[in-house]
Amino acid sequence: MAVRADLSPARLKISFLQTYLCSETERSARRGHSVGTPREDTPRGHPAAAVRCGGTRRLLSAGAVIGAAAPRYRRARAVGGRQLRGDRRGTPPAVPPPRAPALRSPTNTFTVHRAGEKSRVPAPSGRFSRGIKGEGVISLLRPLLLDVVPTIQQTAALALGRLAYFNDDLAEAVVKEDILPQLVCSLSEQNRFYKKAAAFVLRAVGKHSPQLAQAIVECGALEALVICLEDFDPGVKEGAAWALGYIARHNSELSQAVVDAGAVPLLVLCIQEPEIALKRIAASTLSDISKHSPELAQTVVDAGAIAYLAQMILNPDAKLKCQVLSALSQIAKHSVDLAELVVEAEIFPVVLTCMKDSDEYVKKNGATLIREIAKHSPELSQFIVNAGGVAAVIDCIGSCKGTVRLPGIMMLGYVAAHSENLSMAVIVSKGIPPLCTCLLEEHEDHIKAAAAWALGQIGRHTPEHARAVAETNVLGTLLSMYMDIRSSEDLQLKAKRALKNILQKCTYLPALEPLLHDAPPNIMKHIVGQFSKVLPHDSKARRLFVTSGGLKKVQEIKAEPGSLLQEYINTINNCYPEEVVRYYSPGYSEMLLERVENYQPVL
């Protein structure tokens, strides 16, 4: 074991530690362990246990003190760097065998990196965190953040970030150990790799809960992140924007804090940058900021974001389109003025091309955007209908399955709810058949409820509309959904309301006939009421009513005298001659037989 023969005190300390380390690693090598390949040595085969390995622990604490001699270290790092990159591809690492005079610093960073790496493996985080937390890895990593060597700092920060990302206990530990102020201070001074890593840590901590995000805000991270947004390197900007987005996501106070730090104009500048990833993240952050309240959305709009977002709808990248559409829909959802501003950015008819995209989430977000615009006022809905939006949404509903359809269905409902002309426009665009198939095919109750609601909105205006809905034989489906005990309450309520609304206007008797047989009393009232309105005026319908067994069914209905149902039944009975009514009333055959019995034949 050669020891470096330099004589300065630091170097002496270093050499002592090196000796110690070398002996340690030799011992562990003799034991058949290798420092960097923990997989073979753990009894449970668990990667975390490797960190428990005593040699590694001492290594980490030693590594904190060791300062590497620059040129040798850098070369070793460069060599080790390829190893690290090899790790990223997931190949099992080939650790450089502990050569006697070699410095251990590559292995330090290596191990630190490995510790962070392991946390990226999707192991069940509970087991893993017990493993890691038990050793206080956070407190071990903390001094490494202050290391002289910049690469150690960066790797330590990266490891911290990865640990905190998947586990909120570790994130809380990061906050408790006061690591954040250090990160924030050094955020403004260091190079871009460190900034990226520090932004990653902030993002990882802020993602779990509002309290952690609040802790980040309190240690003054927002200003530092906003300064990072002005950096030249796009990776730094991306990291900072991502962290801001995760912080702003939780609630409106945090969003307001982000806005007050002056992030919005810089984010709008970021959107104009050429890198796709940066655009994506900036769009997602703007979406997270503007989703909470109209004032925040107004702030985003005042920074001029809408024009750039609208231009980016044409970009071929699917994830970017997703985020842009989501941002626009979060802006437009709050009020009529904001929706009008979004529409004035000339997104129609370009947005309709998104409805034909191959990516499902682009279709979903496009439909959400159109829905948020259509729901505010009849003029906006009219505009969308004129631009052919209804046809695009209907095609989209027809081609998707599952929750992706939901915004499209709701959009049709909102458009039809505004006025009868718009509802007729939806009918003319062949909107009803996809809604019926949706009602029949979907498994989720909330989608079925939305489809039922939309059909109710379409059919409730005039008898023409109700007839168009009833002709597709969907009333029976609605009734069965209302009666089904397995449907959720929301579905039952919506089906009942839709049925009532359509029935109150429906004069298309062939569709009402099948419902007579199994409807519950509160629905029966409406059905019989409709019959009582139509039958007095139409003789053919009367005949059909008798021949199809409807009159018989009506006689069998028991209604309280004086109730509305009884009045309707009386009205219907008055349309027919008495003998016919008596013929169809229940128990008529018995009555006749009784008369036969009591008859005295005249001889």
């Binding site: 370009v350 191959s358 046809a391 003319v428």
Partner: protein, 342 residues
């Protein structure tokens, strides 16, 4: 004497008769008086009654006349009001007829115009058809692009594989595995191998970190400049084996500027001048447009989308001609931060 006797006898009775007469007159006087009073009172009564009757009659007559007068007046008034009411009813009815017609017309023409609604719905269906067709075309185009990209990728992979496995090419003596003698014609892989250049074992250059910026080059304002100055020699490349000249020298010679002789340079319309002018004329003739040539189609991706006129629609009514007409707004002439003047 006989008369006297008679008188005397009557005389004796005279006093009694006189007394009796007076007494009877006195006795009758009361009765007569009472009778006279009665008669007089009766008569007076009659007279007064007659007078009262007369007064009554007169009063009745006056009242009759007055009442008749009042009633006739009242009657006339009643007639007038009745007439007025009849007239007003008539007018009301006529007005109702007019209003009925007008309201029906107005509602049918402006509010619930059936034909306009029908036309509108037809226009909507037509528009929907157009939009659906266009979207279908767009989707198909995207599909085609994707398929093409996939195909190209596969081709590239195949070619790369062929280059790597170049050693499997068959030679004169030994038929390669793709060129079995029992086959009628060689396998397509064999043909591919024949066409491909062998892959050298030199290490590939690491992927440049700027390659992902490639299709975002349109944001770079200056055009990609080709090297016209002295080109730098490549770093660390292995020198080609053999008696080759130095690459820098070769390039220098290749791009050496023309040094004409005095004769060529000095003459007025020397061949050089003529050639130059010819070149200029050619360029002027051949230049089709001034857009700079961007070598990859992805550079055109960020062009602004232009709306088609038939599909764009303004919200609300057209305000030009109604709300404003050829007015100028000087405060809009100053360019703000967000105005798109460039």
């Amino acid at each position: 004497m006989a008369a006297l006797v008679r008188l005397e006898t009557r005389l004796s009775r005279l006093r009694e008769e006189y007394f009796l007469k007076n007494r009877s007159v006195d006795e009758d006087r009361k009765i007569v008086y009472k009778a006279a009073v009665k008669i007089q009172s009766w008569f007076r009564g009659c007279r007064v009654r007659a007078y009262l009757r007369y007064l009554n009659k007169m009063a009745i007559s006056i009242q009759k006349w007055w009442r008749g007068y009042q009633s006739r007046r009242y009657f006339r008034k009643m007639i007038k009001t009745a007439y007025f009411i009849m007239k007003m009813n008539f007018y009301n009815e006529m007005a109702v007829r007019i209003q009925k017609r007008w309201r029906g017309y107005y509602v049918r023409k402006y509010t619930h115009n059936y034909y306009a609604l029908k036309k509108y719905l037809e226009a909507i269906s037509l528009n929907n058809e157009i939009v659906r067709n266009e979207l279908q075309e767009y989707a198909e185009m995207n599909e085609k692009k994707k398929k093409k990209k996939d195909l190209e990728k596969k081709e590239k992979e195949k070619k790369y594989k062929a280059r790597k496995m170049h050693y499997l090419l068959s030679t004169e003596q030994i038929a390669g595995i793709y060129n079995s003698p029992f086959r009628k014609f060689p396998d397509p892989m064999e043909l591919l191998l024949r066409q491909s250049k062998p892959l050298s074992h030199r290490q590939q250059q690491p992927k440049s970190p700027f390659t992902y910026d490639l299709y975002d080059w349109p944001t770079c304002k200056r055009p990609p400049a080709f090297p016209t100055g002295e080109p730098l020699p490549p770093i660390g490349r292995q020198k080609p084996q053999g008696p080759f000249r130095d690459a820098a020298e070769v390039l220098r010679q290749r791009y050496k500027p023309l040094e004409p002789t005095l004769r060529v340079a000095a003459s007025i319309s020397s061949p050089l001048e003529k050639a130059r002018e010819e070149m200029k004329r050619e360029e002027w003739r051949k230049c089709i447009h001034d857009n700079e040539f961007l070598p990859f189609s992805s550079y055109h991706k960020n062009e602004k989308y232009e709306l088609s006129i038939h599909a764009s629609e303004k919200i609300g009514k057209e305000t030009y001609g109604i709300k404003h007409f050829r007015e100028v707004q000087p405060n809009k002439w100053i360019a703000g931060k967000n105005s798109c003047i460039s």
